[in-house]
């Protein structure tokens, strides 16, 4: 049975339900959020209908500038660290037997699906004074007395790398699986060391994948909303944390919505960039 164009109305019937659900429960909420970003804040309630740009004007304050700058910097640091760690790892993984790969994939997917709350709690335990690596360092004599390693930038960065690493591995996995192993073998036969072969053959062959992965992990890390809160100090809060905070604790929905619209635009621009990179790869 070949694919046929939809001709009659009844051909379109199966589409009706999912399309309606997606429009009503995704497009409309999204639209309302954009509208709310122009509304006026109402103390004690959600908002009053209005058209003001005051919520967007607050982007020009130094406070917002510093939060935005920090969010972008943090997401970039996470993306670079993750790709640097994941690239050799995924390359080794793709060389393993299928059985080993499946075991790894199960573990990686299980960690990827873990709640940010659980990841945050696990790392706060690991960095705590009484149950953490401080004890280990003290026992080894590297630290005088066990002390807590959080809150701090290092803790936030580590937690977020932990959260994003499984995602990075899964993004790189299909490309590395398809990479022709004879490329690396040829480099080895011609006398290149394994490291040299990896850097001069595998990395260039995958440059578009690597660029796309960097961007996708960057967007993923931008979305982290709890780890900076659990593992960091207020100066380590990111845009996502600030949006949650404004919406829930300050009950300033309009400002939260304006920041969310801003975050959508950044994310969409970056995802668009990925598609562009992907498109060029297909053309090449």
């Amino acid at each position: 049975m070949r694919r046929e164009p939809a001709r009659t109305f009844s051909d379109l019937l199966p589409l009706l339900f999912p399309a309606a659900v997606l429009v009503v429960f995704f497009v409309i909420p999204f639209g309302i959020m954009v509208a709310v970003s122009f509304f006026r804040r109402q103390q004690g309630g959600f908002y009053t209908v209005d058209f003001v740009v005051a919520n967007y004007e607050r982007f020009l304050t130094p406070f917002f500038g510093s939060v935005l700058g920090f969010s972008l910097f943090l997401a970039m640091a996470v993306a670079v660290c993750c790709v640097v760690v994941a690239l050799p790892f995924t390359s080794f993984l793709s060389g393993c037997s299928r059985r080993v790969q499946v075991v790894w994939l199960v573990g990686i997917l299980a960690i990827l699906s873990l709640s940010e709350v659980i990841i945050g709690f696990a790392w706060s335990t690991l960095f705590s004074r009484t149950a953490g690596i401080g004890n280990l360092l003290a026992a080894l004599g590297l630290m005088e007395a066990p002390k807590a390693l959080l809150p701090g930038f290092g803790a936030v960065l580590t937690g977020m790398i932990y959260q994003a690493l499984p995602f990075t591995i899964l993004l790189l996995y299909p490309s590395l699986m398809r990479l022709d192993p004879s490329l690396l073998e040829a480099a080895r036969t011609l006398g290149a060391s394994p490291l040299r072969g990896f850097v001069s053959v595998v990395v260039p062959a995958l440059r578009h994948t690597i660029a796309a992965t960097l961007i996708m992990v960057f967007v993923f890390a931008l979305g982290s909303y709890l780890l900076p809160q659990i593992l960091g100090r207020p100066q380590h809060w990111t845009l996502s944390v600030l949006i949650t905070d404004q919406a829930i604790y300050q009950s300033n929905m309009p400002f939260a919505a304006a920041m969310a619209v801003f975050l959508v635009l950044i994310s969409l621009a970056l995802v668009g960039l990925v598609l562009l990179v992907g498109g060029r790869r297909e053309a090449a």
């Binding site: 694919r3 999912p18 299980a110 709690f121 335990t125 149950a131 979305g223 949650t244 959508v264 994310s267």
Partner: protein
């Protein structure tokens, strides 16, 4: 040989990094007293039974399981006709719905959460438990959409043509040929959506956070008031559920192939 050895070392290091926090939480969860100590002092499974015996944890667990089961089922119900349509019909304009199905998963979660908060608040349903079911179903519809689409693309079209030549209409073809072939993919999609919904925090918090506590919300609220060992046991319990669900998908499906579909590169 040193190269193989170095590879193994590197993979072991990554494994250690991924496992360390969970191992420490597992250790902490069996402390005999209500302390945050590692290595644990004494051994007790009391905190695991507490998940089921303490009313507030049990309530949160039941809320989470109900939410996850219902929303994952709804996500599959939405994704199935959509992927069937793309498989059966040529309609380039309908791709917009595919983009809509993937978008919630690609964007930072806080955005979808805030969208739902504005939507339900405007509609006057803010806080009703069923709003969380719909919100999670939309948020995770991507997963069954990707797995079921992959299922359809792996169906040998000559099978379907044979059935059609023998006089089966669309409905009969679906029931007798298509449905059995894509059933494992539906189960995979359901399992992924279920596990992610179970673990999801921000959408659940922004839609029903003040009326219903799911487990991640409960853990976070408890975390703000200090430490209780039940957090550790619940976390390990959740890790076990995730491993079990993904393990089942791996057992009955093709995980490496599913992961190829994940990034949409194998189409």
């Amino acid at each position: 040989m040193t190269v193989t050895w170095l590879r193994r070392c590197y993979m072991a290091l990554v494994a250690f990094f991924l496992a360390a926090p969970l191992a420490v939480v597992a250790g902490v969860s069996v402390n005999e007293k209500k302390t945050l100590l590692f290595p644990p002092r004494g051994f007790s499974l009391e905190w695991y039974t507490a998940i089921f015996t303490e009313p507030e944890w049990r309530g949160a667990l039941i809320a989470s399981l109900g939410l996850a089961a219902l929303s994952a089922a709804l996500a599959v119900i939405v994704a199935l006709p959509l992927s069937w349509f793309f498989w059966r019909r040529v309609a380039p304009w309908a791709r917009v719905f595919q983009v809509l199905g993937v978008a919630p998963f690609m964007l930072p979660p806080v955005i979808t959460a805030l969208g739902f908060l504005s939507f339900w608040a405007t509609g006057g349903f803010y806080g009703a438990p069923w709003t969380a079911v719909i919100s999670h179903a939309i948020f995770f519809v991507t997963l069954p959409l990707v797995t079921i689409s992959l299922g359809f693309s792996s169906i040998d079209r000559s099978l379907v043509e044979a059935a059609a030549t023998m006089g089966a209409d669309d409905r009969t073809v679906f029931r007798t040929v298509v449905a059995p072939l894509i059933a494992p993919y539906m189960v995979s999609g359901f399992a992924f959506a279920f596990v992610l919904s179970l673990n999801e925090y921000i959408v659940a918090y922004m839609t029903v956070g003040f009326t219903m506590e799911t487990l991640p919300v409960k853990i976070f609220n408890a975390l703000r008031y200090g430490y209780t060992p039940t957090m550790a046991s619940v976390s390990i319990f959740f890790v076990a559920i995730a491993v079990l669900a993904v393990g089942l998908v791996a057992r009955y499906g093709d995980l490496p192939k599913l992961m190829g579909a994940w990034t949409g590169e194998e189409r």
